[in-house]
Symmetry: D2
Subunit: 214 residues, 4 copies
């Protein structure tokens, strides 16, 4: 039985992933901010000490409040540097993912098309994307696959907080938000079918909404 | 029952996709070059007239012979323009993919990191990638999802023709070629789980071998 | 004295480049469609035979009429394949750029963010971009530098034909179209200052309008 | 007379930029780590208080020591987060660049092709690239142009520290390192010719060495 640690697993995309992995018999630990808050590095270290290892690691955390570049304070940069970048780095460095395992990180479409209102997320999630790319090459030696999922607008509380969801949906080619289940099932399928060669890759998940060519 | 047309379905990646879609009960038509040769536009038109529509369309064709830029002749540009680009455009324009269906195109990692020996493929598969991106936005209105799979080195006859496969494998972080089955199962899972929001996206499939960040 | 061949040099961006290179003492041949029409391959071959070599080559040609993907006919694909791709390939293969020379290609911002109304240009200019990238590596051995300029909305007849220019300008962060002179002076400066290490690169030129991160 | 603040202006690329801007009559303040050390945020704040405004701002700083992902300590992440990211953010937020001015940031080719030995730089320079892209859109309203220069291997002390320079040069298509002067002259030309429409753009400067297509 594969053990899966799902950060931010109590709601939204994280919960959908936890449910989906449970459905194929994984031993899922779905954590909320009480168990691990990546903005708080001692919480991260305690978590690493407690869990030590896993077969599947899902790096996932909520997004910062909407801010334009000129509005972000030094304190906010520091806080979200921990939450979106440094906490994940420590986990990836120190929590052992077993040979043949998987790491998925849930980032955001803003890593390819940065969003003026989401400047913090655009910067730090992208920084982690670079680290994750390099880590995927190191981890490949132990047959660990690393996949970066970059969701567009998904039907979660987070997106509802960002504005009028049904209005946003109209501007997406698919005329709807994505369902958390779609991402959960996507990850489940990769694990279930032992697809390993898909690694070191960023996968936008956005209903054909992005505009860059590749 | 969903109907699937798999071009180049008699061997390699195409065959793996055909097998995988059959295993979940799709009605698969796996074509060889006898049924449709995308280098030959009248063959393409005949094929469109015969099949008219499908639920799942797999655009897949063999690669051109290795050539550096200075070696490619005018005649070769013309031939592979048909095979890798124009034939696919006609299919996408005229063969109806039913509402809620899927189009997958199998391109190559060279669309993001062009390869000096594979200049023809680097150019025309990338041109089609641009068309496919735009088509994904049009097709989204009818809930058709479009996914571009860009394989790295996969264990097929094609790759064996390109050189010493076990030598090539050593330079890949995963120390092996990909298996056609991994791509077949990947596509199967998307269809089986009705994952639709993944569209307008290019997915490198290369064992963590590529070097670009996103 | 350096010889410069400027295709499409009778108006717009091409003319600005021709003027700018003249101003620093280059021997400029600014061609119009009468001297070379890249849509017509025999015209291209005649041009190569006549000129044989140059120090600076500016690959530049008008854009196709606006068309969405479903509207493009087979004949149009063929025509613009010649005009935007194959004609340039033949020139790059057969017209000798002297050691220490320069090749600039003027493409378009649509190569990174394909435009639904400009599908032909999005596809073939991108295909040439792949070829040009690979050629830059071959030509580097002879100290020839290759730079791809990808203009956004520039104040030319072409852009006026595409729609209401002052309306378009409002949506650009810089609130104006670019001036052809800016591109002319940019190219002039590279030549004048013997900047050679800038090669194999695509430079969007768009008033901060594009949305991709890198 | 335009005022230019050049960070890291006492040697290497920064010095070449300072010299080049001086040669066209700019009033250049070339700072060394004594005047401003971006790793030290109070030094950054003092610098902002002292200078308040400029016409041209060159964001430039040395690179961190080579480290692979698993080797980087928490303390190092924190330090270089300040040096490569947060210090630059504060400068861009609080030091006024006059209307019609310029901001150039000197990053690195690793922002597009992250380097396993330069993981810190790959991450934080890329994070700043996202911020800089968004800032370019805000600053465009005041006709300030923002250009990100991403050098490959340039003939500086830094590169000599990283290894055998002449050995490295052999693997570059141009068979040499770039000269700091080439970057200095490039920036000078943009200022001198009042090229403003080039903004929100990242320009690799690497002798045709990179492998991504766009």
């Amino acid at each position: 039985m594969m053990k899966a640690l799902v950060l931010g697993g109590s709601k939204g995309i994280g919960k959908a992933i936890a449910d989906s992995l449970s459905s194929i018999g994984c031993d899922v630990v779905a954590t909320s901010r009480k168990e691990i808050d990546t903005a708080n590095l001692s919480s991260v270290k305690k978590f690493i000490k407690k869990h030590k290892q896993t077969d599947i690691l899902i790096l996932n955390t909520g997004g910062p409040p909407p801010k334009t570049f000129s509005e972000v304070t030094e304190k906010e940069w520091q806080k979200y540097h921990n939450q979106l970048f440094l906490g994940f780095c420590l986990l990836l460095q120190k929590l052992k993912v077993q040979d043949g395992g998987y790491v998925f990180v849930i980032t955001s479409g803003v890593i390819k098309e940065p969003n003026p209102r989401l400047v913090i997320s655009s910067a730090y999630r992208l920084a982690f994307t670079a680290v994750f790319k390099l880590a995927s090459k190191e981890l490949a030696a132990r047959k660990v696959s690393c996949v970066n999922i970059a969701p567009g607008l998904i039907n979660t509380d987070r997106v509802k907080d960002l504005g009028n969801a049904s209005e946003m949906a109209k501007n997406i080619p698919m005329k709807r938000l994505g369902e958390p289940r779609e991402i959960g099932d996507f990850i489940k399928s990769i694990v279930q079918n032992k697809i390993k060669y898909l690694s070191g890759v960023t996968i936008p998940f956005d209903g054909a909404n992005s505009n860059f060519v590749v």
